[in-house]
């Protein structure tokens, strides 16, 4: 396989890079090891929620927060990507979402504060429009609604937590209704409910059950994110009209309907616009000659399949999609087999408490100022290879709520570098 530029990964960093490269007029081959968290976990695009993983003060203005972070930590991956990459990458993604028919809201100048499925307020920068009515910066009362037999959202628990954790304070009630057609002993997921919500009859039944729980107090209704897969705007508007109250979605554990909607549309858009996608082939083994990578190998059925490109963007995410390989004492990367980290004991990678910031989260590729993977001395392992997204060292995407913004900023920057290489 030959292309101008090969992008490895299937997450937001990879997709952003592929889109940016294509807009620059180059041919892109997108190589997938399998699907990433963008398919089963994503809900919102978080740029910066907390200045570091230890603090609990939510950031109000993520653009400003990133600028401060860059000033304070010139080695942070955000500093290497540059605030211009974040701004331009975000503009590219927002325009792309609109073109793909997805209505998202937000800007770099403010964070929403949205309840999670456990009722904790979480700062998020770019969000689907169906989540916006849950913004906890506003005081209106909230009714949280779950479904009998649906295990991934417990409204009672979320309401109890939210009552405690809502910064401004407010009224929260919990209700549970039946999901019509889902019998008691059937195990069902968000995806099943989302498909059911696309049926007008199902929605009407839900509205009838919900109505008695609503008062004339201007309350908004929080539902788990199950309002349809393909026809969400219609489902959302229809239900709001039937109930006369604002409705917002709350992200759930995998499978995340919000992620699925996002990924499916962006993937289709890329494919329709001519990006070549190679499914189901984990990439590894970069061949470096004279300081340049000449090919990477795909583990295709039967044999290793070479992919040759002028430049490469490695936009894998983390452990799940094979960005790094963990042995008992060593962490290595699959492309250069370079040592990422060495531990006397595997437990040195984790904190004492699962709720503490985890050292393992900060591990990943060392990168140069141009985002090339670097060896221990800081020299690039290959001139024409660039890293983006979760596999970079030196930040904690979960603890700082910055996974999406980092994916966009580094994906965009890596694309620029790859086009120039």
């Amino acid at each position: 396989m030959k292309a101008d530029i090969a992008v490895v990964g299937s997450g937001l960093a990879a997709l952003t890079a592929a889109r940016a490269i294509q807009q620059a007029g180059r041919t892109v081959t997108l190589v997938w090891p399998g699907l990433s968290s963008l398919y089963f976990l994503y809900a919102t695009i978080d740029v910066l929620g907390y200045a570091d993983a230890g603090t609990r003060d939510a950031i109000v203005d993520p653009g400003d927060g990133v600028a401060r972070l860059i000033a304070a930590h010139p080695d942070h991956p955000y500093a290497k990507a540059g605030s211009a990459s974040l701004a331009q990458g975000t503009a590219l993604v927002l325009a792309w979402l609109a073109e793909a028919g997805l209505t998202w809201k937000g800007s770099l100048s403010h964070n929403y504060l949205l309840p999670t499925a456990l009722g904790t307020p979480k700062p998020s920068c770019l969000v689907p429009s169906t989540m916006v009515a849950g913004d906890l910066r506003h005081p209106e009362p909230i009714v949280l609604c779950g479904f009998k037999g649906y295990q991934d959202f417990a409204p009672e628990l979320a309401a109890a937590n939210l009552l405690r954790a809502w910064p401004g304070g407010g009224t929260v009630r919990a209700v549970r209704i039946a999901a019509p057609g889902f019998v008691a002993d059937r195990l069902f997921t968000s995806i099943d409910l989302a498909r059911a919500f696309e049926e007008p009859g199902f929605r009407a039944d839900v509205a009838v059950q919900l109505r008695p729980h609503l008062r004339a107090d201007g309350a908004r209704i929080g539902l788990p994110a199950v309002l349809g897969l393909r026809r969400t705007p219609e489902v959302h508007a229809d239900l709001e009209a039937a109930l006369g109250h604002p409705i917002f979605e709350i992200p759930t554990v995998p499978p995340s309907v919000l992620a699925l909607r996002l990924f499916d549309r962006l993937r289709k858009q890329l494919q329709e616009s001519g990006v070549e996608m190679i499914w189901a082939a984990p990439a590894h083994a970069a061949q470096v000659e004279g300081g340049r990578c000449t090919r990477i190998a795909l583990k295709a059925p039967g044999r290793e399949q070479p992919v040759e490109a002028r430049a490469y963007v490695l936009a894998l995410e983390d452990w799940v999609d094979g960005a790094l390989r963990a042995g008992v004492h060593h962490l290595r990367d699959p492309f250069f087999n370079t040592l990422i980290a060495e531990h006397a004991l595997p437990i040195d990678r984790t904190a004492d408490s699962m709720f503490s910031p985890q050292p393992v989260r900060r591990l990943g590729y060392r990168v140069t100022q141009r985002l090339q993977p670097a060896d221990a001395s800081g020299a690039p392992l290959a001139e024409n290879v660039f890293v983006a997204g979760g596999a970079m060292a030196g930040y904690d995407p979960a603890g700082t709520k910055s996974r999406g913004g980092m994916a966009i900023a580094t994906g965009y920057r890596a694309a620029q570098e790859a086009c120039a290489a």
Binding site: P33, G34, L41
Partner: protein, 422 residues
């Protein structure tokens, strides 16, 4: 020291116990075409890695619900951690069938080559029977083949026989072997003729070695023991060929079985040499093109075609080479119908209890094909083509048909011998 409890050679947890690589992300369930269409199927996550933890070689196989897995392999395509979900499902299903016995229907459907030979020998009679409502009703009641499923038309003249009379190309610069499979041999000889013609137009002599059914119909019909026997025969027959030349296959699933499943699903020793030399026909032609060796002397073909990517094609890890090739042909407009699985999955949608499910799985694709309108729907897989013709009422053919036309082979037209009965 804790560290000394780990064996010193152990690389990763996943290498030591592959099932532990499953992180329960549920991506497989989300993408599963069967789970999307019915709530009685518990999905690949539960039936594969989760049930695997309860399976022990000494105990009876845990198999409830396994027959609803159509074997499309999209779960494996999707899995971020490369868990061999299909391997767990198929091995358990085979063990269960060995313990409890197989149905006549599944035994018959697993013996594609035998079926093909009988059908071909009695071609006019078999085709007439397959179109006769009374016979189909009987077939449904006695065997369990759904009466509404159009069955493939059998041909009296097999591809093997055609090729024996086909004069070898003069002045070829290299040789390639062709794994034509049961379908081309007994049902769609014309596809094999086109493959031979296209390769000859590129200065390649086509060798047709003796071969057995690839075994995939047996695999998905709970008969991996039979599939392994077939596989071993093919490894014996074709490894000496693979040592000399590349092998191309024009069926997506046969190609995948040879490339991957012999070594990794059926554990056939020594099958790697064969697997490493097998190419999908379009993959092979694209490779020629990247080397600058593809004959680009194409005539204009004024056609608007849709392309449906078969599920098993996605497992090949090669992208969509047919789409890339078709863009080289002047006059052809090609657009992908990206609506997922067609639903037939080989013999799955033929079965009486699964026919309706199979049509429901394909309904999104059928609607998209009908709405788009086209001169033909192209698909690399023979049963996808059957399903698209049946479900969407569209003409469906293999992508190489367009290349054959571009090389000037227009006399037989798109509606050749492939059209199923009814």
């Amino acid at each position: 020291m804790i560290t000394e409890e780990f064996p010193p050679v152990s690389d990763t947890v996943e290498d030591a116990a592959p099932v532990e690589a499953c992180t329960k992300c549920t991506a497989c369930n989300t993408v599963c075409p069967v789970a999307q269409a019915t709530d009685i199927f518990r999905g690949p996550k539960a039936l594969g890695p989760e049930a695997e933890r309860f399976r022990s070689p000494q105990e009876p196989a845990v198999t409830a619900g396994l027959d609803l897995c159509s074997g499309c392999k999209l779960c494996e395509v999707t899995c971020p951690s490369q868990v061999t979900i299909q391997g767990y499902i198929r091995r358990a299903q085979n063990k269960g069938a060995r313990e409890r016995g197989r149905t006549l229907r599944d035994w018959v459907l697993g013996h594609t080559r035998l079926l093909g030979r009988l059908g071909s020998l009695t071609a006019p009679l078999a085709n007439l029977g397959n179109r006769t409502p009374v016979f189909r009703l009987l077939l449904e009641r006695v065997v369990g083949i759904h009466r509404n499923r159009p069955l493939p038309r059998y041909q009296w003249q097999t591809f093997e026989r055609w090729h024996r009379r086909h004069p070898p190309a003069a002045g070829a610069r290299r040789k390639v072997a062709y794994f034509y499979g049961c379908w081309v041999n007994y049902n769609e000889r014309r596809l094999g003729e086109m493959v031979v013609l296209i390769l000859e137009r590129n200065g390649i002599e086509v060798v047709v070695p003796k071969q057995q059914c690839c075994g995939i119909p047996a695999v998905v019909n709970a008969n991996m023991d039979l599939a392994r026997r077939y596989g071993e025969q093919n490894v014996r027959l074709l490894t000496p060929v693979a040592e000399q030349m590349d092998i191309v296959a024009s069926s997506t699933s046969c190609g995948l079985t040879l490339k991957h499943d012999y070594a990794h699903l059926m554990d056939i020793p020594g099958s790697q040499t064969l697997g490493s030399r097998v190419y999908d026909i379009c993959e092979y032609l694209w490779m020629l093109h990247e080397k600058g060796e593809l004959n680009l002397d194409f005539e204009t073909v004024q056609m608007r075609v849709l392309y449906h990517a078969p599920c098993h094609l996605k497992s090949h890890g090669m992208g969509y080479p047919a789409m890339r090739l078709l863009r080289l042909v002047p006059g052809v407009t090609v657009e992908e119908v990206d609506e997922g699985c067609c639903g037939i999955s080989g013999t799955f949608g033929v079965k009486v209890e699964k026919y309706d499910l199979s049509m429901k799985i394909g309904s999104r694709l059928f609607a998209a094909v009908k709405a788009a309108g086209s001169d033909a729907v192209l698909a690399d897989c023979e049963t996808c083509r059957m399903q698209v013709e049946h479900g969407a009422g569209a003409t469906s053919t293999h992508p190489v048909e367009i290349l054959a036309r571009a090389y000037g082979q227009t006399e037989t037209g798109v509606r050749a011998t492939r059209t199923p009965v009814r």
